[in-house]
């Protein structure tokens, strides 16, 4: 806790991703769950079949939005799972491995989401 000279720290970046991911997940995922999971099966909305839903992907802004929606919550989950494993299971000595797996998984998921959204025709 003693004041040390400021070095390049990754914690603020990880926390920003965590926090942004939590915000995105909390605000937007319920909307998608409602539209696709409740409203569409009950016939409350029009045009939610596969063809019309994917037609939205013609808009670059939609692709970007979906990319953010996939990526940020992955970093949120990675951060939370990392600390749950680290503190919950008391496996401090595996910290580097856990961090690499969690954030690595989030990076991998982000790359896959980006690739799929980019290459979707």
């Amino acid at each position: 806790m003693d004041a040390q000279p400021t070095k390049l720290r990754i914690e603020p970046l990880l926390w920003l991703l965590f926090s942004a991911g939590g915000g995105v997940a909390a605000f937007f995922i319920p909307i998608h769950l409602f539209i696709l999971g409740i409203a569409a099966p009950l016939g409350l909305t029009k045009a939610t079949d596969y063809a019309s839903a994917t037609a939205f992907l013609a808009f670059p802004i939609v692709r970007f939005y979906l990319f953010v929606l996939c990526s940020l919550p992955l970093f949120h989950a990675a951060h939370r799972i990392r600390y749950t494993l680290y503190d919950g299971l008391q496996i401090k000595h595996l910290n580097e491995v856990i961090a690499a797996c969690c954030y690595g998984g989030a990076v991998l998921g982000t790359v896959i989401a980006g690739y799929l959204l980019w290459s979707f025709q």
Binding site: M1, D2, A3, Q4, T6, R9, E11, P12, L13, W15, L16, S19, Y83, D87, Q90
Partner: protein
């Protein structure tokens, strides 16, 4: 309802005991008694060697914090009637070294408090003749909640991160730093930044939120820490985007 209630109290004497053990006491059950009343009854009538801290018995001195059935509580505000007829287990606060019976050592806590520079820092003090530093009700509201802390240490006993990492600055100390950072009369936020923006301070917190849940004064230490994380993260963004900016 029974006219007595059983208390199982953690006893520890460093001269004779290798580890704390429980001792049972039967005390009269009275609806208007709190756990502290029962402890005082035991000390007066049954065992004068029982050791614990207390002072005001009205939830303002912050001395009588203990674990009641495993939960950090101010014993002066915890009624026997809420637990009766079951017995009540009283232990010293978790995560601290035990001095004797229910008394814990608070040296670490006090040291962490001092590190936060919990006083008004001014670049230049104005002379007394110019009067006091004025503050609007809105400026008071910005930090008032965090100033309600009574240093009872319940949040430290509740915090699993402090339990795992004794170097962690802990909830109350960070909330106190934020209490001064948010005070319109204070100009010391930059002095506190290097202490707060550390792995052992705000970044150590994993936002379990137990500190806020157990706080008897409804301070929100978890909120203070998250607030400061945002401040520090934005400062970090600024230092990445504008490395020449300086502080």
């Amino acid at each position: 309802m029974a006219d007595t209630i059983k208390l199982e109290i953690s006893r520890y004497s460093p001269e004779t005991d290798a580890a704390p053990h429980f001792q049972s006491f039967e005390v009269p059950f009275r609806r208007d008694w709190v756990v502290l009343d029962a402890l005082n009854y035991i000390k007066d009538k049954q065992d004068g060697s029982l050791t614990y801290r207390w002072s005001c018995r009205m939830g303002i001195c912050g001395s009588c914090g203990m674990l009641v059935n495993g939960e950090p509580k101010l014993t002066c505000a915890t009624f026997l009637a809420d637990y009766a007829p079951a017995s009540i287990r009283v232990e010293p606060l978790r995560n601290f070294p035990i001095v004797r019976d229910l008394v814990i050592a608070m040296n670490d806590f006090m040291r962490k408090f001092q590190k936060m520079k919990p006083w008004l820092i001014r670049k230049e003090e104005k002379p007394v003749s110019e009067g006091e530093y004025l503050q609007t009700p809105e400026q008071l509201d910005a930090y008032k909640q965090f100033s309600m802390c009574i240093n009872c240490m319940l949040c430290y006993a509740a915090c699993p991160v402090y339990g795992l990492d004794p170097l962690f600055a802990g909830p109350a100390a960070i909330a106190l730093a934020q209490r001064y950072n948010l005070d319109s009369r204070d100009q010391g936020a930059k002095d506190r930044f290097p202490v707060l923006s550390q792995h052992d301070a705000i970044w150590g917190c994993t936002f379990v939120g137990e500190c806020t849940r157990v706080c008897p004064k409804h301070v929100d230490p978890a909120g203070a820490i998250q607030q400061y994380k945002l401040t520090a993260a934005l400062d970090w963004v600024k230092s990445v985007v504008m490395p020449w900016g300086g502080k």
